[in-house]
Amino acid sequence: METGKLFENVAFNLLKLAVIYLPDDVKQALKKAHEEETSDTGKTQLKTILDNIELAEKYQAPVCQDTGTLIFYVKAGAKAKDLDKVEEALINATIKATKEIPLRPNAVDPFTQKNSGDNTGRYIPYVNWEIVPGDKVELTVMTKGGGSENVCIGGMIVPGEGINGLKKFVVDAVIKAGAQPCPPNILGIAIGGGADISMRLAKRTLLKPLDEPNPDPAIAKLEKEIFEAVNMTGIGPMGLGGKTTILGVHIDYAFRHPASFPAAVAFNCWAARRASARINADGTVEYLTHKLKW
């Protein structure tokens, strides 16, 4: 198969897998939350979520009607061929997926308010590039819901307050977000770098499985501490009260300027959709997050 077409097929499959089948780690976390939730209303919400996940798989339909802004992450091996064909392939896959799965057209011109109708437009789908050694290409898609995007927040902590300042920043962000981002949520938190870098890292860390804490024990401990603290808020599933406000926390960081302590919190909704595949130089494809179901 011609490489451009191969990229397109893989991207289409990833979009379809992502919007229909939630990753196993997210499903497991939701099941556990349902078992442990003590609020009646909260438990009903989690039950409805689990029922809906099953129905989506049964009917092969998107788990949520907000099929999100489409964001791709490409880890491109420096020796891989035809990298110049990737962006065009991703656009073609997006148009095809919008029509055939279908996806909701979610790309609107901010000046004219016109919806392009096919999920493409200036910078959309957005592509994050990373050049890595080797000849393989790893494609990942995140279909990011608008409700959880609306409460993402970046800010600057007073460096003297350090990590304590970060904890307050996160707790306040979750409380301010309340019911809006479809809790239970997953939090991606990042510090350092700069305003843009921290947000980029925060969002990217949402791609990590929930059962994969940060390899640095001190950061893993902070993830756990924030997880427990935020679940004490009582916001609960869908903000109707309960002890499950978040399913997990991921933290990433970059070194910071002595005068700056940028911080960012990226929220993902419970419908935390992501899918990845690796395309080898010989044209074989390995799906990393899902088994290919067709």
Binding site: Q65, G145, G239, A271
Partner: protein, 201 residues
């Protein structure tokens, strides 16, 4: 907690029976409206133009569905709720002018809407955010679509539904609002969390 099953058009008397934390299922006609459709509906009212559908006694649904079209026939593929807080801006006028009885969405609504609901006899039914297929399965027919020039998410979709729910009655017509109660509780918990984390407020 009581479970109610209502058919549209719903009367004010029936709506007044509902209390927060009751569960409601709606059968009949529900009409979607998000930001743009709310804005346009209110403009129509100002200009004395009738809406494409009479909303009296119906449910308005904050939703931008995924739809597919075969021939002339539309189908709702996925149709969960969107965040209602964005419609707070319009909802009191919308309720007053169009006499809907149920507002369906997620994320809750504020004091202005809660007051209007008490005054005119309306409830807010919270549908689980993201439960899009469960919602779509209760939609038995897409009767029509209006204002498609706004794009499919923002258009006004007129759905015929059967036992659409479960809707958690989160704002009733007696001034109670679960989301505002939860917010108060969260504010109290915040101090405990600060203490646990060693944060000075």
């Amino acid at each position: 907690m009581t479970v109610y099953k209502f058919k549209t058009p719903i009367s004010e008397e029936d709506v007044r029976k509902l209390k927060v934390n009751d569960v409601l299922y709606v059968t009949g006609t529900i009409v979607t409206a998000r930001d743009q459709a709310h804005r346009r509906a209110l403009e129509f009212f100002k200009q004395g133009k009738p809406l494409p559908v009479n909303l009296e006694g119906l449910a308005v649904f904050h939703c931008g569905p995924v739809v597919s079209k075969e021939g002339e026939k539309w189908t709702a593929v996925a149709a969960g709720p969107t965040t209602s807080t964005r419609m707070d801006l319009f909802e009191d006028e919308f309720i007053k002018n169009f006499k809907v009885r149920v507002v369906i969405g997620k994320g809750g609504m504020g004091k202005r809407t809660t007051d209007a609901m008490a005054k005119y006899g309306v409830v807010y039914g919270a549908f689980t955010g993201g439960a899009a297929i469960l919602a779509a399965k209760a939609i038995k027919n897409v009767r029509s679509v209006e204002w498609l020039d706004l794009g499919t998410p923002e258009a006004m979709w007129i759905f015929e539904v059967e036992e659409f729910g479960p809707l958690a009655v989160a704002i009733d017509s007696h001034g109670n609002n679960v989301f505002m109660d939860v917010a108060k509780n969260v504010e109290a918990n915040k101090q405990k969390i600060y203490q646990k984390l060693g944060i000075s407020p």
